[in-house]
């Protein structure tokens, strides 16, 4: 099993290395003429007039939270899915109870409106 992670580790290093080298090469090859106008922040062609922070919508946080819960649920279900072929029916029903508990929560937050983008 370590051999497989070795390959993945090598692939990670290479896939970080290849774009990195390409970008460094492009930095070497490209002209460098910074002017104040070129360096200013883009705002559809007009000057920026406010500090750079935005009113962050809580909707993003809600989506990330729901995603986290369902991600953990899926992670719990993966070993069960691997063992699916060899377990009797009542154990499958146990997993369905697991899913049903979380689905009731999903239904609650759906009705509460946490999933609607306003």
């Amino acid at each position: 099993m370590l051999n497989q992670w070795l390959y993945i580790g090598i692939f990670v290093v290479i896939s970080v290395f290849l774009p990195g080298v390409a970008i460094l090469l492009a930095r070497v090859l490209s002209p460098k003429k910074p002017t104040p106008i070129k360096n200013s922040v883009y705002e559809c062609g007009i000057e920026t007039y406010d500090k750079t922070w935005i009113q962050f919508r809580i909707q993003f946080y809600l989506y990330a939270l729901v995603f986290l819960i369902f991600d953990v649920e899926t992670v719990f279900l993966f070993p069960f899915a691997v063992a699916y072929g060899q377990i009797p029916l009542f154990m499958v029903v146990e997993a369905i109870i697991f899913i049903a508990i979380l689905m009731s929560g999903f239904l609650y937050i759906w009705r509460k409106g946490a999933l609607t983008w306003r």
């Binding site: 051999n3 497989q4 935005i54």
Partner: protein
């Protein structure tokens, strides 16, 4: 070995020859494995990045034809050197770095986004003998590198010191994380059916390709992977004709090129994953004995799926962000979970029947669920129409309205 054996499995033959060469030079076994892995990974990575040029050209031609125009056709016959010209141009463009950027996230983000796309290639089984890494949790790894891509996008948006880039980065990452849930659930169903999380095992378990066992699951996975990729009709974060370029507005030169490459490469790699999981990967007539055919089958299948993706891109209008989220959370996710529960139950119930009955049961189940989903959607559409018509308290601006008002005021 003679020439025919070499033709049957060229890559493993070369690998074996190199391995023999290294051991005659006295290199120890583990180091020679390391060197072979390194060479294989380097070749695969470079090949993927270079093939992206061909895919960019092909996509531009196909979308051009879909929109009733030629694509690029000046640079070389049929414009095949257009991508090379674009690549050379992007390499030598100036890297404009705006004021106030956060240097580490800003410079690392393109690298991380491209790396997260390339890393998927490490686990794809290319033929019956040639799999990069037979990781026993390959399906989870697939989902995990999607998460790394989202981090890259957030870094790009934050590092740009531009509030529009930040907003667009948040929208793009919210879209990407939302659509990972239906993907994960459908992958869970395929793991259920094949009993293993390793890609090679999933391919080997597909005596009957999973698209026949799970057409609805394949549809959900296809839609979710297009949305995860950020392509039309889900490309709100990067609407090329509307916003300037979303979260990569402050990038120029090759850094922007890297985001572009990641987008197009990811389209093809999602197609490869779809082909591996649902269409049977390298399976085909004669692929067991002649591994070289396996790679050809995989490429053909993934090109077909990729073409479907390009076709959809050229045909459908863009979704708004609230429509996108509604599709995911209120349609795809409940449908996927319903499919999962039903497959779990019927899988156990028809466990002892013959394989033909199992296949037919699964197919019927999928179509019943699809019909149910369409019925629910129609009901919702009718309810929305009634709600909209019922709320006509504001006068709608129609041409005859405006004329009447003008005539009344004289």
């Amino acid at each position: 070995m003679n020439f025919i054996d070499f033709l049957k499995d060229p890559i493993m033959a070369i690998a074996e020859w190199l391995g023999n060469l290294l051991s005659t030079w006295g290199v120890s076994d583990s180091w020679s494995t390391f060197i072979l892995y390194f060479l294989g990974a380097a070749v695969l990575g470079t090949l993927a990045l270079l093939l992206t040029l061909i895919f960019i050209w092909a996509e531009r031609k196909i979308i051009g034809r879909l929109q009733d125009r030629f694509g690029p056709n000046r640079v070389g016959p049929w414009g095949i050197f257009q991508s090379v010209a674009d690549m050379v141009k992007i390499f030598i463009k100036e890297h404009i770095i705006p004021d106030g950027v956060d240097p580490v996230p800003y410079h690392l983000a393109p690298v991380i986004v491209v790396a997260s796309v390339l890393m998927v290639l490490a686990i794809v089984p290319l033929s019956s003998t040639l799999a990069g890494s037979d990781l026993n949790v390959a399906v989870l790894f697939l989902l995990a590198v999607g998460g790394l891509g989202e981090i890259g996008i957030i870094m790009a948006g934050w590092g740009s010191n531009n509030k529009y880039a930040l907003l667009s980065a948040f929208r793009a990452s919210a879209q990407m994380i939302s659509y990972e849930i239906p993907m994960a659930i459908v992958l869970l169903i395929t793991v259920l059916l094949s009993g293993s999380m390793s890609m090679s095992d999933i391919v080997r378990a597909q005596e009957v390709p999973f698209i026949i066992l799970l057409p609805l699951g394949a549809l959900i996975f296809f839609i979710a992977s297009i949305a995860e990729n950020g392509r039309a009709p889900f490309d709100l974060a990067e609407a090329e004709s509307e916003l300037v370029a979303g979260f990569n507005v402050e990038y120029s030169g090759l850094k922007f090129g890297m985001f572009y490459v990641a987008d197009f490469l990811r389209a093809f790699i999602s197609a490869v994953i779809f082909a591996t999981i649902f269409l049977g990967g390298w399976r085909g007539p004669g692929a067991e004995t002649i591994p070289a055919l396996g790679i050809i089958y995989l490429v053909i299948k993934s090109l077909f799926v990729w073409f479907l993706g390009v076709w959809i891109r050229g045909s459908l209008p863009r979704y708004r962000i609230d429509q996108m989220m509604m599709i995911n959370w209120k349609f795809l996710t409940p449908l996927a979970i319903l499919l999962l529960v039903l497959v779990m139950l019927t899988g156990k119930l028809v466990d002892n029947a013959g394989s033909f009955i199992q296949v037919v049961t699964m197919l019927v189940l999928n179509f019943i669920l699809l019909a149910f989903a369409v019925w629910v959607l129609r009901r919702r559409e009718k309810r929305e129409k009634i709600a909209e018509i019922g709320s006509r308290s504001r006068p709608v601006a129609r041409p005859d309205n405006i004329l009447k008002n003008n005539m009344m005021e004289g």
